[in-house]
Symmetry: D2
Subunit: 359 residues, 4 copies
């Protein structure tokens, strides 16, 4: 099999010939049809990311070992299957792979929240992933069937499907963590891919009023166009605090989902909150917040860190996407030997929706 | 009627003769038998408290008007009752007053969380309270019956009852917000009145393992003595981070309830957390926390501000206290004309349990 | 003031001249602009309803006293207001009245679920209601503001608003009790007014797949037309069990909401359930179910009785209706002196949507 | 390896020599130290059980294949382990086996509720279980570590441990399903092994008041002795409805957990309910209930079928048992060749606590 691998951080990825693994026990070999290109792949490629006070947080300190095959948004078809799962899956089945594999016995894993495992074994990060023509999935349990062998993955393209397992899943978990009611005012900070998907999802399953906030009119226009944002705020052009207070009858937002999560955005978040409000922190931009501690109890605020979603959440997303209630947006397609180009383009901000590799 | 009132901040309280109010509509006149003396009464007396960066946050800016009668932990007997509530209460009934009255139509009030109302009308803060021989309660709905006229408030002294409506209620809501499971490790920061009550409550209704943390051995001894804390940590004498990590098999705490909520304690809190852990912030000590934003999503942490409890919570507390499952501790008793002395003594840290005024 | 009253069960209603009440304490006098005509008003008019084994269950045994003014779906404008609520409401404000008033101190009332109070004081049942030009509301807390004095009740007609407080509220609470996820299959039994509203609501806030079941093609057509039902089943023409099993990949429904709740419908419900499924019982048709007890634990089924909704739910409904996310259907309008005619017409099944009295 | 197997229903079990399986993939071979003898083993032995209207429901119709090795309450030590799990477990580790294995991809399995799987693969029922000296566990994920190799299973005997995975787990899940608050009145019907454990658990983690109901004074005495029941009712000697109404101030119970679940007990349950009350149905006695359908919505009752518990629940139980907060009761011990005797004795009602086989 062929795989585009990061051999050493910061160097171009190498397409290597590897031995195709043979699935044992409950493992499954999946032929990769589409593998999404995610911002966090850039951190993996660069060997780490900027932490607070200019520190560089190395991926190897978190357990990553190079060479590694990136790619955690994987859709494909079953190539080889163990006896154990034959009543559930057949060779050729179109499947989505849940990449957030946990070690299996921590409290999070025990309730199906492997995305929050104490010792994660995620595909495409700690274990070889989807920038390859094949991927070994540790158990059939991590598969979500999206179509039969001869199916065109009904109503849901294979590329679009791939993006559900990280981009949409992170947005969905954030929306769930906001725990919205129909008369809530929700502010979504950052109208990029995740923010737009969060608005689609909030519209589909909560009934809340949505205020989109971003620095770019183009993105806000997109948010409005699909009818997902009820209101938009360009925080570069107008005072975001004043505008949100006006839009909420001076009460403030009931919830904010921040897909940037930088010092500056969260400082603003804290000024637009109604009593009892939640701030769901999702973005990995980072930095520090000077948090006024006394306001936490007196105003009954909640700051909620939100990190991708569970396998159960993914199943729900597949259901919504198949019925076109949500529509993932794939804008760029690459071949396997263009993996370096894909990551570079993403890093330079030149991919508007989501990029996907078709090996 | 007589009331010990704050006429002007920082001056001694004056015992004034006021006209005894006549209850109209759903109002009830309660004869005060015991009124707890709370730390927040000191803020009311001083006209405000220290905010971040040395600012003085004035109570008048939050809507307090002087003169005002303090006292929000009120137990007494019904003196006069309206027609509307005669099927529910009788003259002479022993009652506990829920002081966290809301305006009634905000989302919090609509679900019975008046403690988190957008525009609170709390007794003893915005409206005259219990440092008096009588208090006017805005509706019979805010009463919890604790005994009949001729009863000795079965199993629950009237002074102990009074302390349930703020001290114990705040502890209880914090325990509820921690949402504990029996195999969770809970760290309680601050083993004073609230912390000890929180340990009693966590023991009674969660099954979690409890680690008490404080600077004073005396308090930790108390925490252990009642069998409520499984372990104790003196953070002055030992490294709290190292000790908690050892006590939790290097995993960290599943939840921390911080009854101090100062920069220093919360900085420590953030270093002893297991992935997915919650920090419940209760104390009003204040200051700032430099919060590392990226760890919030990657570690899936939750910071939860927790402010007193609901009327429903209070009903549950009364049930637990009547059955001696929890035991509020009253250490000092004062007369109405000793109100200034009571507040001074509390401010100087000379009240070990809870002080109560018996008018 | 004038009111159309049931003086004695089964006799025509009498329009009587009554003294207009003067609001005391927290009471509010509301000028009635629209009052919905509900099936349960017929029970009140007939003095009871058929129970199991042919017994007649009398309303007077449940605490109803005649004469009484029916009408619990009330929209109007504030005519007179007490001092207590002047910061929240103004004379002339358009309001919706929450009629499910509780006695205020039972566990249900303490958490804002007055609809489930131990000793209800509901308007239009135990206390005079909205078949009148004025109604006395026991507290401003039971009002939901829907517009200013001079407003046309923006985007939401006054007649449509009225129907939210029982018809839509019952449907909403049922949907909430079904606790649906986006990949759930929901069967709605009965595509009348409540069923259609439940489908609208389930579509708006859950993402679940909806199967409508009824005996009449006309109603099923309506369910499909609005795009709220994904599938429909005419249980007179096709085998409902077989059809639902086919529509759900032989797994069965994850939830059923039964707006009929008769022996026959619930017997069918029990045969179309997936393991872990819920049956939400709402209708008042009645009868008996022979429940196989052992299947309850082995299949982990839940039968959930669902009775109207809370004041908080009503606030959410108003928000959804104002934004046209749900659209209540009013089909017939009556004057106050046509109250008897309205009830007769409803009883004979001649009102297709909802009838409303405009006094 | 040796195993006591049911070769044909109703015949004595045969101790057979089988080939010891070699664990592949994520499988683990566990040396059985203790295997509990459960009432449901009798159904397996008899080939089925009595359904409603005298039908005999055959186990083979539910997917059981004979010969089969019973035993689903298994505690033992790890004998052989796969590479995959070596960082989590070591040979010799004392473990408890979670037997309620699911197929892994249904909605229940996805959230860690494999006990409620659509297509269960439970050990000791569909797959060979613990009446043997060794058992093959399908994945290390189903193990809960209870001690190191050389440990005496600290504070928790190996026999007691075994009973946690069905008897205590079923009781625990029932208590969780009752969702109790400290001021709730809980009636536990059936003070046998499960009922007594449910009372211990309700005491430990809910604070509710407990009323035990049984036909035998001896069992009620036991319930009272441990201080777990606050009150007891002998429903043979006194009118259970009248007594419960008196004990609950005429309000009725907030929740009933019925460990018998026969027509007669559930008929009584339905007469002692407060509005909004839950009846948790656990027992497998069976029969039919004539359910009055209209009271379900008007009284807002909930009937909840409860079937054993999740792996996460089991982890919590182990934590409680290790700290002696709950104390499982083992009364009888057998050797492997006494399996038939053990089942016979249980069937005849001669085992008072729990019987355990030590191979």
């Amino acid at each position: 099999m062929k795989a585009a691998r990061i051999v050493r951080p910061k160097e171009p990825l190498q397409v290597q010939d590897l031995e195709t693994p043979k699935p044992k026990g409950s493992q499954v070999l999946v032929k990769v049809l589409a593998s999404g290109v995610c911002h966090s792949d850039i951190h993996l490629w660069e060997g780490g990311y900027e932490g607070p006070e200019g520190q560089f947080l190395k991926t190897t300190d978190r357990g990553v070992k190079y060479p590694v095959t990136p790619g955690h948004e994987i859709a494909g078809s079953i190539e080889a299957i163990s006896e154990e799962s034959q009543s559930l899956f057949a060779k050729g089945d179109k499947v989505l792979v849940y990449p957030w594999v946990g070690e299996g016995t921590c409290p999070a894993c025990r309730i199906g929240e492997e995305n929050l495992c104490d010792k994660p074994r995620s595909l495409g990060i700690y274990v070889d992933g989807g920038y390859a023509d094949h991927v070994l999935v540790p158990s059939y349990r991590y598969l979500v069937k999206i179509g039969d062998e001869d199916e065109e993955v009904d109503n849901l393209g294979i590329n679009e499907a791939a993006t559900l397992s990280c981009s949409a899943l992170t947005a969905y978990n954030a929306v769930k963590n906001a725990n919205l009611r129909p008369d809530d005012n929700l502010v979504v900070v950052g109208a990029g891919g995740l923010g737009l998907m969060a608005m689609q999802l909030a519209k589909a399953v909560t009934g809340a009023k949505i205020i989109a906030m971003d620095l770019e009119d183009e993105k806000l226009k997109q948010a409005r166009k699909d009818g997902h944002a009820d209101y938009t705020v360009n925080s570069k052009k107008e005072d975001p605090v004043k505008t949100v207070m006006e839009l909420t009858d001076k009460m403030g937002a009931d919830a904010v989902i921040d897909f940037v999560n930088a010092s500056k955005t969260v400082e603003t978040d804290m000024q637009i909150l109604r009593r009892r409000a939640k701030v769901v922190l999702v973005g990995l931009y980072g930095g520090e917040l000077k948090l006024n501690l006394v306001t936490m109890p007196t105003r009954a605020y909640r700051l909620i860190g939100s990190y991708t979603g569970s396998l159960s959440d993914l199943t729900e997303l597949v259901s919504l996407a198949k019925r076109k209630i949500i529509k993932p947006l794939v804008s760029d397609r690459f071949k396997l030997d263009q993996a370096t180009e894909a990551l570079s383009k993403l890093k330079e901000g030149k991919i508007m929706g989501r990029g996907v590799i078709n090996p």
